[in-house]
Symmetry: none
Subunit: 221 residues, 2 copies
């Protein structure tokens, strides 16, 4: 009896974990974290075929991670609970903390490009004080809202292309994101340099910056 309850519970937990165990579904959830979406939009964003995307969505719905509603012809999906973001966040944290694989991937990222050395945090603090640098926070808006380096602009990768023209051609730009394992800053710098900007990546991310005891602008939750 108690054994079977325990087994049933573990199976339910495992079912949720299983729903998160496919890259395609994580990608879908990441999209849904931005806001509710229809099936076609999700399929396009994630690069999945329509039918495949639909099936993944139904698997997510079976695990109650997403809910759906009809809007005319379209079926709109959304995350069923904000806590799912926390779960995914810890998944990311554990994965990035533990997997040497990730490090190898990131090494490959900066390896085969002519990416410049990242700027040190002390160096950035110095240039910030002088006002000679534009700092971009390329994390999602909610993370920026929760805490960011004073003076930093929040520009997600998706927004970057639109914002690019507003920067002075000779501006010195520094991008940062979640930390050493996060690819956002790498990608932002790569994009900026492709457009000819003088962009570099901050060494580490916000957690390391804070760990140094440097100022952080936080918003009370």
């Amino acid at each position: 009896m108690s054994i079977s309850f325990k087994k049933a519970l573990l199976e339910e937990y495992a079912r949720v974990a299983h729903a998160l165990s496919a890259p395609a579904r994580l990608s879908i959830l990441e999209q849904l974290a931005q806001g509710e979406r229809g099936v076609e939009a999700l399929a396009e964003k994630t690069g999945l075929s329509l039918a495949n995307c639909s099936q993944h969505l139904q698997q997510l719905r079976r695990s109650s991670l997403v809910t759906s509603r009809r809007d005319g012809k379209a079926v709109i999906y959304q995350l069923s609970d904000a806590k799912i973001l926390n779960l995914m966040d810890f998944l990311r944290i554990v994965a990035e903390r533990n997997l040497a694989q990730v490090e190898r991937i990131l090494r490959g990222l900066s390896g085969d490009e002519d990416a410049p050395e990242p700027i040190s945090r002390a160096d950035l603090a110095f240039r910030l004080a002088k006002g000679t640098v534009t700092v971009l926070d390329v994390r999602p808006a909610d993370e920026y809202a929760a805490a960011h380096i004073p003076g930093a602009l929040n520009v997600t990768l998706a927004e970057l292309e639109q914002v690019l023209p507003k920067f002075a051609a000779d501006a010195e730009i520094v991008a940062y994101c979640r930390g050493p394992y996060c690819v956002y800053a790498h990608q932002a710098v790569a994009a900026l340099r492709q457009h000819g900007f003088n962009a570099r990546r901050l060494e580490g991310g916000l957690p390391e910056w804070r760990e140094d005891g440097r100022p952080v602008l936080t918003t009370a939750q």
Copy 2:
């Protein structure tokens, strides 16, 4: 290019989730949350065959969720990072929030929706200091021997009926077990309340208690 890096990262996250997507492995991790264990002990506790348990352990190690070291002939496994507890906790929270199935299971456990809120760890620490509470450790004797909350009595579910009469009728009783995944404390509280006792469950279990930095009585192995 950046797309493929993103894909690789998602695959790493998915790999961690996949490691959590089998009840057998969750069960193993729950055991390891109590403390490091050898393969045979884990196989016995989880009811897995030795070879099967070993393979699950290696899958967990491949995902870097556990680490191993040799101790003579034995190989001892342990969680690689305390953050894994947080991850499992959110997995549980999301599963229990979203899956009506789980709620039904837990409701079945405590008979009906009669069960009181669990007591917080801070609250228990306070009452322990005042000496106004009886704490029951309802885990198996060997786990109690390895580590338990100072002042707790070890009473397994099997022994509970016999020990019941010894408690004062108005005693305030708090039961704890391995943690949120474990059903022992639920059952103990249900049994105690059926007999009219004022019993509650501790929020979380021993691993969470220890994670809080609260005192634990350990016995050197």
